[in-house]
């Protein structure tokens, strides 16, 4: 092993909002630790920008950062592209990381491309897998493309850093090591508010009822839900899961639910984190619209239903029984959680 700190730097951008770090940052620190182990003397470093974000620094150490570069400035209180892009790019130019990972969140996707353009390097978006190419000893960043139908492994041979954004929840959250320490490097931003072209006027927190195309959780029903009243049950389940209701074509055709809920070839293509298919047989026509989901739970009475071919987990059983039981158990969990604190 080379001396720690002497080898290539693997950077992770720590995304925060109002002093709360986005968990993808810790997922990335976990990945960076794994990558660093494959590069001689590799060191894991975090980049943190914001205002009054000191509390996050020890967290970054706890999740695996050996060093944290922190730029703390009132100008950075809320994310804006320009000051963040300039701030991070200055650090990149000063410290020359080998690899730089950013979460593929709204913020991360906005920021990473600006940094890559400023430092004229390559950036691979929305990766689902990161590894070190064993021969070339460079980052092999794998991402879905072509609507999720094709996987591409992207390499950046010459320019540095090798940048990638990674979708949240794709990588496991590493174990937190309380009390783990590292080095804090403070950086000056050196920008004036008067030079900022964009001002934040206000913020409206998201309300529910999202469009199915963008929903993280979809509870979808097919003929097996029995009728329009079955969809009322699915709506309850969707609410309990914080999701929205989807449907297969036959039930939309049958008028049980509106077309805006339809998933599939003649409906919407969705890519939620959780897709719960209740009473959907799973014709190809439907599957092409939802197979990109991260996790598919299928409930169907017919053990041979094609939906089970794409499901991560199947329940062979009657929707009319299983859905109410899901709702009941979810509500029991929530009630149990009420006692805990969400501070």
């Amino acid at each position: 092993m080379a001396e720690p700190g002497a080898g290539p730097k693997i950077w992770v951008f720590v995304e925060q909002d109002g002093g709360r770090a986005h968990p993808v940052s810790w997922e990335l620190l976990g990945a960076a630790t794994g990558l660093a182990e494959q590069l001689a003397g590799g060191v894991v470093e975090a980049v943190l920008l914001g205002h009054a974000v000191q509390a996050i620094v020890p967290e970054a150490f706890a999740y695996g950062a050996d060093r944290v570069y922190c730029s703390d400035d009132p100008l950075l209180a809320h994310y804006r592209n320009l000051p963040y892009a300039i701030g991070v790019s200055q650090l990149v130019q000063a410290h020359q990381p080998e690899i730089f990972l950013v979460g593929a969140t709204h913020l991360g996707r906005d920021l990473a491309s600006s940094i890559a353009t400023r430092v004229r390097t390559g950036l691979t978006a929305d990766c689902t897998e990161l590894s070190i190419d064993p021969q070339l000893k460079i980052l092999a960043a794998t991402r879905p493309t072509f609507g999720g139908n094709l996987m591409a492994t992207i390499l950046c041979r010459q320019r540095r850093p090798q940048m990638a954004t990674v979708r949240p929840r794709v990588l496991p959250l590493p174990e937190r090591q309380p009390g783990r320490v590292g080095e804090l490097v403070r950086a000056e931003l050196g920008l004036r508010e008067a030079d900022m072209p964009v001002r934040l006027l206000g913020f409206e927190p998201a309300a529910g009822g999202a469009d199915i195309e963008y929903a993280d959780v979809i509870v979808a029903g097919g003929r097996g839900v029995g009728g329009p009243e079955g969809f009322a049950r699915l709506a309850e389940l969707a609410e309990a899961l914080g999701g929205v209701v989807g449907a297969s074509r036959p039930v939309v055709d049958a008028g049980w639910i509106g077309y805006e809920h339809q998933v599939g070839q003649t409906g919407k293509t969705v890519r939620p984190k959780l897709y719960l298919a209740a009473g959907i047989s799973g014709a190809v026509q439907h599957r092409v619209g939802m197979s990109g989901a991260d996790f598919i739970l299928a409930i169907n009475r017919d053990p041979e239903a094609p939906i089970f071919q794409v499901a991560d987990l199947g329940i062979v059983g009657d929707v009319a029984e299983v859905v109410p039981e899901l709702i009941r158990q979810l509500r029991a969990r929530t009630a149990g959680a009420q006692g805990g604190s969400h501070a």
Partner: protein, 287 residues
């Protein structure tokens, strides 16, 4: 005022299928369409033109067939279409693409100053969402990505207020103009184009820009040479191995459901089960 919209012709990835027997991508007959987000960017530009006057220019980098996409933009109400097409641009990644588009926009700006630049949020074939931010950065323009709509637009005072989708809600941002917006589909509902637009488009031939003329693009910054990233390997994801099947008949209802919920939790696709507690966000005012 002058708005430039950058568009891309993409394969309709919703019409792409995998051959079930061979597991390979069926590329034959996949229709080419305008990237769906870009259609809304064009629509916003046309709406602004109707309100404030001026011109809309659509530009695209792509193969010769992408001229069709520009003709469709003219149907929607775009005045001028520019196709940047040359074999020398082939294999461009987002850095090289943003160089080409950025340089073209600079040239167009010199001809006719640009007030607003619009990009679709991302292209559905690559889903990178990198070219718009890249161009804004190159041109030193304010960037607002994930734009949901314009709350106000004032080409005289050169200010606009834009609603932007952020991770946990919607931001209201004031920007000076010119600015570059990458837009969500909500930004403008596509209206049915009038027949005279279609008649104009029927004979419209987009301008063709090559690597040498009318602009000379730096050969070191285009195509493969200008692209730091390369595709090392592309493959169709292996067909999913069907997951476990729990049977209510064998395990009983409560146990089956409890196992299923545990599996969802351990898969980490939802942060917690049960309604996620909402942390109220403070209304932020700045400056």
């Amino acid at each position: 005022m002058h708005t430039i919209v950058a568009i891309k012709q993409v394969p309709d990835t919703s019409n792409v299928r995998i051959n079930p027997e061979t597991g390979t991508l069926i590329r034959e007959g996949v229709p080419a369409i305008i990237n769906p987000y870009d259609v809304h960017a064009v629509e916003l530009a046309v709406r602004l033109k109707e309100r404030f006057g001026g011109r809309v220019t659509a530009i695209t980098m792509g193969p010769a067939a992408a001229a069709e996409a520009l003709v469709e933009c003219v149907e929607q109400g775009v005045d001028r279409g520019i196709l940047i097409s040359d074999r020398k641009f082939a294999a461009a990644d987002t850095l090289a693409t943003s160089y080409v588009l950025g340089s073209a926009i600079e040239a167009l700006n010199a001809e006719d100053p640009v007030d607003l630049l619009l990009f679709g949020l991302q292209a559905i074939d690559g889903d990178t969402a990198q070219v718009g931010p890249g161009v804004a950065t190159r041109l030193g323009l304010p960037l607002i990505s994930y734009a949901l709509g314009l709350e106000s637009f004032d080409p005289v005072a050169r200010r606009a207020v834009v609603r932007r989708k952020a991770e946990r809600g919607v931001e209201r941002l004031e920007t000076r103009l010119p600015a570059l917006l990458t837009v969500e589909k909500e930004v403008a509902e596509v209206a049915r184009a009038p027949l005279p637009n279609l008649i104009r488009a029927a004979r419209y031939q987009p301008e063709l820009w090559t690597a040498e003329a009318p602009l000379r693009f730096d050969p070191d910054h285009i195509g493969i040479k200008g692209s730091p990233t390369i595709v090392g390997r592309a493959y169709t994801p292996p067909p999913k191995t069907p997951g476990e099947r729990l049977r209510v008949a064998e395990q009983g209802l409560a146990e089956t459901v409890s196992q299923a919920l545990a599996a969802i939790l351990s898969a980490g696709v939802v942060e917690s089960l049960g309604p996620v507690p909402v942390t109220p966000q403070q209304e932020v005012s700045h400056g």
